[in-house]
Every structure is written in C-alpha cells, then in structure tokens.
C-alpha cells in the first residue's frame, strides 16, 4: 500500500489530523489497533468546556461523533484492528492485523498513539478487581458493566475525581478517593467530591490488598492510622504517560519533560521529530487537555502538508501562529505548566539543531 500520509492511532488527535489532510484531497490512511475509531473519547461522558473554537462545548462521546462525521465523507482508508509492528529496511512501515503483515509506503507519518495510564505498586495490585480508573470508566460507559460494588480510588486528580463521580452515579459505593500527598492544592477538586458525598483522604497509602482470586479487602494507612476496608474494586488513577513504541521504532530522539508525562519525543515548532518524515501530536507529544490534543494534531497535519508541497509557506505560517496562540490559551487554562514545558521542550530541540525558531513563535514566547 502507498499513501501520502499515514496516521498511527485513530483517537481524537488522529481523527483531527486526518480531517485536515484528507480534506485537502491528500491520500491518508489511519491505522487503529482497536475495533473502532475514537480512542478514549469512546467512554468519555464528561463535558469538555475548553475546546478549540470550531467545536462547541460537548461531551467526549459526542465530540467523537462530530469528528467521525466530519471525516466520513472524505476519501480516507481506516484500517481497524491493525497495529504498527516495525519498519522495513527501506523505510516502509510494517502493519499487522490478526491474520497478515504487510508494508505501507508513506511519505509522511503522523504518530498519534495517545497515552497509557500509570499504575501504582502495592502488595496485591495485580489481583482481579484492581484496575485503572480509565478501565473502570470503559466498563461503565462503553461496556455498560458495573466493575464492582464498593470501590476505593487511588490517586486524586481531575480525571480520577471525574470517574469517581461517574462510578457513583452508576450506583457504586465509593469508600474514598485517596492520595499519598499531605494536602491537595486544588480546592475545587476536593469540594467537587465532597459535594457528591465522596470522602477525600490525604496522606493515605494502601498497605496491602488481599482476597482469594480477586480483591476483597484492603488495608490503608490514613495519616498513621490503619484501617481495613471491605472492597471489591480498587481504581488506580496515577496519571498518564505518552505511548512511544512506534516513535522508538521510527528512530525518533527523546527528551525528558516531567510536566509532559516523562519521556517525550523531541520535536520542532512544526511538531516534526528528529526523523524528517515523522510528526507527532496529541498525548504522544506530551500529556495535555483535549483542546491541546486537537490543536497539536492540526499543527502537525498542516506542517506535513507543507512538507508535501500541498500548502504554501505563508498559508501555513498564518494558520500555525493562530493555532499556537489558541494552544497557549487552551493549555494555560488547564495548566500553564503544560504549555511552558512544551515551549521549553521545543526551544531546546531548536537550539540543539541550531534551527532558529520561526518569528511567529517568538511572539508566542513573549506572551507567556
């Protein structure tokens, strides 16, 4: 198979990048390892208020429909249940599904593999009934299955708090949302949980989880006080880290940015990586909000189109600086640190390559 643009991952970033390239009549293939497009939007019933201008405030699952509806009239090939498994010597990308392996010859690759949830280690964490908060959300919203009756949530952040409320609305008894930190800076987060009568426990760790064949009990240490709880569900919400394997296989260089989720591919202000044919966007380019996911996808796609000679310099310059501006306001609204870390990450790579930052980018730097 031959294509102009190959997009790896059919979540919000991949879909938005594909809309951009395919609407210019550019041959585009998306490969997606799941049985359906949409990525994490498939189970996100929460409202997203802070989205790029072209989108209304909407629930994740509705945004998924919006994106797929925009994409479906465009000429595009979607290979569901397909994974990237390697690169051939001549640079073609190796793709596999359950039955066959074949190469795709792509001029440009946009990696939008998203992120994976981090775990937390305590004795018993591998018992059935212990799962990530994302998994619990998938069960209630996508699969319509109750993952348990009495739950404890480990790790307090906006995502785990949101899922705790969703689980509770489905009738699950939430015994508490706990965090090992001594206090929680985000008052709103705590109040939001307490409003819903969910207990928040700071300075609390799990000593062990036990049960024959599945989790039944947990011993927690709450500020030095030990407490045994009968539970059948522990949801771990310790945050996200970018999924990097395809970028490793594609020989991209990496840098460390704690605020972007740890190891992140190096990239320019174009979202191009150290491999000249590879771009990165979405959570794979650093953990961000949904607005940031959509915007980075657009920036990467535009620059890939420029490199393919489809768009001219000026056009891309104007749109890029507009998008960067929007990205700044969007990421700053969620967490200014994300945007600052992203800018630092880009600056570092430009300096390393002795490549001046585009003039439009300087204006953005001054603004932050």
């Amino acid at each position: 198979m031959k294509t102009d643009v190959l997009i790896i991952g059919g979540g919000p970033a991949g879909l938005n990048a594909a809309i951009e390239t395919a609407s210019r009549g550019i041959k585009t293939i998306i490969i997606e390892e799941s049985y359906a497009l949409g990525g994490q939007l498939k189970q996100q019933t929460q409202f997203f208020n802070n989205l790029p201008k072209q989108f209304d405030r909407q629930r994740g699952i509705h945004l998924m429909r919006t994106l797929i509806d925009r994409l479906s009239p465009l000429p595009i090939t979607c290979l569901l249940k397909h994974k990237m498994i390697g690169v051939y010597k001549d640079g073609r990308i190796g793709i596999a599904n359950d039955t066959e392996t074949f190469p795709i010859d792509a001029k440009k690759v946009i990696v939008t593999t998203g992120a994976a949830e981090e775990t937390d280690l305590f004795p018993g964490w591998t018992l059935p009934g212990v799962m990530t908060v994302g998994a619990a959300q998938i069960l209630i919203n996508r699969e319509r299955v109750l993952p348990g009756k009495n739950a404890l949530i480990v790790g307090l952040n906006s995502f785990s708090a949101e899922v705790a409320k969703q689980l509770k609305a489905c009738g699950i008894n939430i015994l508490g949302v706990m965090d090992k930190t001594v206090s929680v800076n985000d008052k709103k987060l705590v109040e939001g949980l307490e409003d819903k009568k969910i207990r928040v426990m700071v300075n609390t760790v799990i000593e062990r989880a036990t049960g024959a064949g599945e989790v039944k009990k947990v011993t927690i240490n709450n500020d030095g006080k030990k407490e045994d709880l009968d539970i059948d569900l522990i949801c771990i919400g310790k945050g996200l880290a970018p999924i990097l394997e395809p970028l490793e296989i594609l020989d991209c260089e990496f840098g460390f940015q704690a605020k972007l989720g740890g190891l992140v591919p190096k990239y320019y202000s174009t979202l191009g990586t150290s491999n000249p044919s590879v771009y990165v966007a979405g959570n794979a380019a650093g953990i961000t909000c949904l607005g940031g996911i959509l915007l980075t996808a657009e920036i990467a796609a535009l620059n890939a189109l420029k490199a393919l000679g489809v768009l001219n310099d000026n056009e891309v310059k104007v749109r890029s600086s507009f998008l960067w501006d929007e990205l700044r306001s969007m990421e700053s609204e969620e967490s200014i640190e994300t945007f600052i870390a992203r800018v630092a990450h880009i600056k570092e790579f430009h300096e390393e390559c002795e490549l001046p930052l585009p003039a439009s980018f300087h204006a953005i730097l001054e603004g932050c």
Binding site: T45, T126, L127, G129, R144, A169
Partner: protein, 107 residues
Amino acid sequence: MYIDHHPILENHGNDQISFFYDGTPLKARQGQTIAAALMMNNIRKFGISRKLRQSRGLFCASGRCCSCFVTVNGLEHVLSCTTLIEEGMEIKPNTGDPDVRGGIHEN
C-alpha cells in the same frame, strides 16, 4: 451486572447473545468485549499468571497490560479487553503455559 439505566447515556438496546465460558452457557450484549462479557457475569478472574501463578483479570481495558488473556475458540493468548464477543464463542481461562498457536497444529 449490566447497567440497564445509565445515568447519562441512552439505553444501548444491544441484542443479547450467548457464549460459553469453560463450557457453561452465558449471555452477553452485542458490542461488548470478551472481558466485559465475563465481568457482566461476575467472572473477574480470567486466568493465572505463568510465572508467579497468581490470579489475573482486567487491568487497563486498553490492550496495554496483557493481564487479560483468555483462550478463544481454541486460540490461546487472546486479549479479552480488545476483542469483541461473538455469538457461540467458546472462552476458556488461561491457566497454563500458553500454546500460542494451539488448536491448529498438533504438537
């Protein structure tokens, strides 16, 4: 347990289908993954880890952690969280050393 009345989402209304777990006939909903179909029937332990012989079940639900392997129609080592359940499927827990291409070739 199946969520008939979701607090936000409309009723799926997906058809019921039948499958077998370790020989026992069970019901699932069309469009569910194998992992979800099992959990709906209160089966949370899907197998035993090879090395430490510990119970394993669904963990990430996203095909990343490899904790949820089962045997599907004789094919071992299938990720149950990313494979959809189908009418008549025969699911077995993964309890031993997997024969990755089992059921097709004789050993």
